[in-house]
């Protein structure tokens, strides 16, 4: 049996202070630009890995980061009431999930997940934090002891979601065809 490995790890933390948010959506814009191919060559907030949940007349401004991909929607639903207005639980959920089009690439349908602006060389601060000029988003690095856990990379997550949607066979066929065309 393999022991869990305990490792010291630097954890990147983005702190969100919703009271400071001014609703400018600069975070969405810049995130989409950073992840464009080539970098900054296009913008499209629908492709951002952060999404401002904005309900202006109830003073709700919540920047939400794209979390894990989930292949099945939740069984239950909760309802939140804030200042007398009710919100579906999904409103504040971070998952890229089959039941809605949040955090999915609008062109390919592939799930999007915040990668903390992974870059080489690494950025000093994630781009959304840099774009947020009123400190609603701030960045910190903290040391933490952690159990090592393998997490699928972005491509794998994407493939998993495709497999779930279309079945292994179809995905394999498409892959074979695409790679042939590419050759």
């Amino acid at each position: 049996m393999v022991e869990d490995v305990i490792e010291k790890k630097t954890v990147k933390v983005i702190k969100v202070d919703v009271d400071k948010c001014i609703g400018c959506r600069a975070c969405e814009l810049v995130c989409s630009a950073f992840h464009a191919e080539p970098k900054y060559s296009s913008t499209n907030p629908a492709k951002a890995r952060i999404r401002l949940i904005m309900d202006e007349f109830n003073d709700i401004y919540i920047p939400l980061y794209a979390g894990e991909y989930t292949d099945a929607e939740c069984n239950g639903r909760n309802v939140y009431t804030i200042d007398g207005k009710t919100y579906d639980e999904c409103t504040f959920c971070r998952a890229s999930c089959p039941s809605r089009d949040f955090f999915k690439d609008p062109d390919s349908g592939l799930p999007l997940k915040c990668d903390m602006c992974l870059d080489d060389p690494p950025l000093e601060e994630p781009l959304c934090v840099q774009a947020c000029r009123c400190d609603a988003l701030t960045y910190e690095e903290v040391e933490q002891e952690e159990e090592k856990e393998e997490s699928p990379d972005e491509m794998e997550t994407g493939l998993q979601s495709l497999v779930k949607k279309h079945g292994t066979k179809k995905v394999m066929e498409s892959l074979a065809r695409i790679s042939k065309e590419a050759d």
Binding site: A26, Y40, N44, K47, I53, M54, E56, N58, R133
Partner: protein, 651 residues
């Protein structure tokens, strides 16, 4: 591939319920940039002078600017243009917020609307899916209420809605189009939208906007952000707080209203209260502000926070921007508590925050003068605030006297007669102006007021200080890092400008200098309106982050077009001239180019003539204010001179 722009317009015919996506000509982008410029071209080509504001053939154009949707900070303006019912000339008004970038992400640069729908409808633009939908259930609903209802109906909280309220539906000549925290208010654009039977345009987009040279572009954007930060830390010295910073202007953040309340006039733009701002007032007004503001807000991709959500107990939340906080307050000789309350109702109705309070104060003056009587005002309350609410309701519903007042002071005075015209004293080209009454004629402002095609001084003035600095040290400190000037000579003009004596107003700046300064300020505004840039970061404040030197780089990097300062100047002048020609074709002429009669107490007819003559000549216009054939040729606009010649407007 098209860069920065989408390369498509959406053509909507409301009579035939026809929807078309039309590719645009990239050459038009080179000549007119986009936004206001390309809209003016469409209006020139398709709206001939016979077409009236409420004709089926009148177009209503919602346009994003060339750089909207790109990472350029504060570039989020929607430019709405049509024929104004009030002036019968081209109306164009800009709104901030989120609409323009969203439209670009949906894949369109403009929505061009023609025809009329018999039933009230709204337009739902969702990428390639565009629908004309029934809006009969939204009839009479407020602008904020409408937006919320539509978002629920289409089940997309991220859609953006530009809507009219009851004022637009009833074709009030100064009805606005409201969009969240912003509005396109001037010129009665909302009335044209109402006449077309269009309650709202709703947009949601999920497509890419492409940048030609991304690395270069993002660097330019970073420079702008850094300079904004620098300017926040280094406000301009020697000017009132409202002029010291950037933004459009920062009415929600700034509590010190000495400058506005003592320099601008109260009531029907007549009374100046030079000792109004006492410590007591300051304390009370600060308290009023703090009590109702729940959050400061920005437009898309901008850190400036010029807007705020306002929560007055007992009435529903709304968002306020800029100066409307003071216009109702001052017109009614009231206080901020009243101002914050009535603006909520005015926003739901969708009316212009400049013209509306002025019309109401005008009506009350007529009443006090006995020109309007109790017969005209049945049931009007006796207190000033009550009267303002009463009048607002009458106007928006076009009930009784409200039906006449709904056309603005110029048309109302004409209709009422009996000496009423003397009370409609604050108009230029039939349009209500800022409530200002000053002493000595100011050459810059004289030219801008007379010739400004935008009818609104805040959209013409800008980068050059309004008045000279008091001391030589202040002047030198100001020009030291004034790199925004298009030419160093402007620094000298400012250094030499004195409060008193030979080199003071009205004779200095000289007519030639005046023309050059006005040209610079206008150029910046016309560029902003074509790019979709907020004036608050560019043409309006002193020392802005966008200017003649970095704009060509922005445009080149974003679009891939080859742009330099000369070409950009040429494009701005082309747009300015095209709009002038459009209005000339609709009957505007030199005789219309005058400020409100009592705007300045001291007037100088000879100097004024010289100022206009010099400016016209500098502009390439003849002495009637019509662009000359040679100048039009220089600007690649022979098609304009041909048309003007055919109509006998140019010989």
């Amino acid at each position: 591939m098209r860069y920065a722009e989408t390369g498509y317009n959406l053509e909507i015919d409301l009579t035939r319920k026809n929807i078309e996506k039309v590719a645009t000509d990239p050459r038009d982008t080179e000549l007119y940039l986009g936004g206001l410029g390309t809209s003016a071209k469409v209006l020139w080509d398709r709206v001939t002078p016979e077409i009236k504001p409420f004709s089926e053939e009148n177009l209503l154009i919602f346009s994003a600017g060339l750089l909207c949707g790109t990472p350029a900070v504060g570039c989020n303006r929607t430019i709405v243009s049509t024929i104004s019912p009030q002036t019968e000339l081209m109306a164009y008004s800009m709104m901030g917020g989120f609409f323009a970038p969203e439209l670009k992400y949906a894949g369109y640069d403009k929505v061009i609307i023609r025809g009329k729908s018999k039933k009230l409808v709204y337009l739902w633009i969702h990428n390639d899916k565009v629908e004309i939908r029934d809006a009969s259930h939204l009839k009479g609903k407020g602008t904020v209420e409408t937006a919320e209802l539509i978002k629920k109906e289409i089940n997309d909280p991220k859609a953006h809605v530009a809507a009219i309220g009851l004022a637009g539906e009833n074709k009030v000549y100064y009805a606005s189009v409201e969009q969240g925290r912003s509005s396109a208010s001037r010129g009665g654009i909302g009335a044209v939208m109402g006449d077309k039977g269009l309650k709202a345009i709703v947009v949601r987009g999920k497509k890419d906007i492409n940048i030609a040279r991304p690395g270069e572009y993002i660097e330019l954007c970073d420079e702008v952000l850094n300079y904004i930060k620098f300017r926040e830390e280094n406000p301009i010295q020697g000017v009132p707080p409202i002029l010291a910073g950037l933004g459009s202007p920062q009415e929600m953040k700034i509590h010190d209203e000495k400058w506005h309340t003592e320099n601008f006039t109260w009531g029907n733009a007549r009374e100046r209260r030079k000792d109004f701002w006492t410590e007591e007032v300051a304390a009370k007004w600060s308290e009023s502000m703090d009590k109702v503001q729940t959050r400061l807000l920005s437009c898309y991709n901008c850190p400036m926070q010029c807007g705020a959500s306002i929560n007055v107990p007992g009435i529903s939340t709304y968002m306020m921007k800029c100066y409307s906080k003071l216009t109702y307050t001052m017109a009614a000789f009231s206080d901020l508590d009243f101002g914050f309350k009535i603006v909520q109702r005015a926003t739901e109705y969708g009316v212009d925050g400049f013209t509306t309070p002025q019309v109401m104060a005008f009506a009350l003056e007529l009443y006090e003068a006995g020109i309007l009587t109790d017969k005209d005002m049945p049931g009007m309350p006796s207190d000033s605030e009550g009267r303002f609410y009463w009048l607002l309701d009458k106007i928006v519903n076009r009930e009784g006297i409200g039906d006449i007042l709904a056309n603005g002071t110029y048309w109302a005075a004409k209709k009422i007669g009996n000496g009423a015209q003397a009370y409609a004293h604050n108009n230029i080209k039939k349009h209500e102006q800022l409530p200002l009454k000053l002493g000595m004629l100011h050459p810059l402002y004289f030219v801008m007021y007379c010739t400004g095609e935008k009818m609104n001084i805040t959209q013409i003035e800008g980068n050059f200080p309004q008045s000279p600095f008091a001391t030589q040290e202040d002047k030198e400190a100001f020009v030291k890092d004034w790199f925004q000037v298009p030419d160093d000579k402007f620094k000298q003009y400012l250094l030499d400008w004195e409060m008193r004596g030979e080199k003071s107003i009205p004779n200095y700046p000289t007519p030639q200098m005046t023309s050059e300064i006005v040209d610079w300020q206008e150029r910046m505004h016309y560029i902003d309106d074509s790019l979709g840039m907020c004036a608050g970061l560019s043409s309006f404040p002193l020392k802005p982050p966008y200017h003649m030197h970095n704009y060509p780089k922005f445009i080149s990097a974003a679009t891939g077009m080859d742009m330099d300062e000369d070409k950009l100047t040429q494009a701005a002048r082309r747009n300015r001239t095209l709009i002038r020609a459009f209005n000339i074709r609709r009957g505007m002429s030199r005789k219309d180019e005058k400020p409100p009669e009592d705007h300045w107490r001291k007037r100088f007819p000879e100097l004024e003539k010289e100022l206009l003559d010099t400016y016209y000549a500098f502009r390439g216009w003849n002495e009637d204010g019509v662009p000359t054939k040679e100048y039009l040729h220089e600007l690649d606009m022979d098609y304009v001179s041909q048309d003007l010649e055919q109509r006998g407007l140019l010989k």
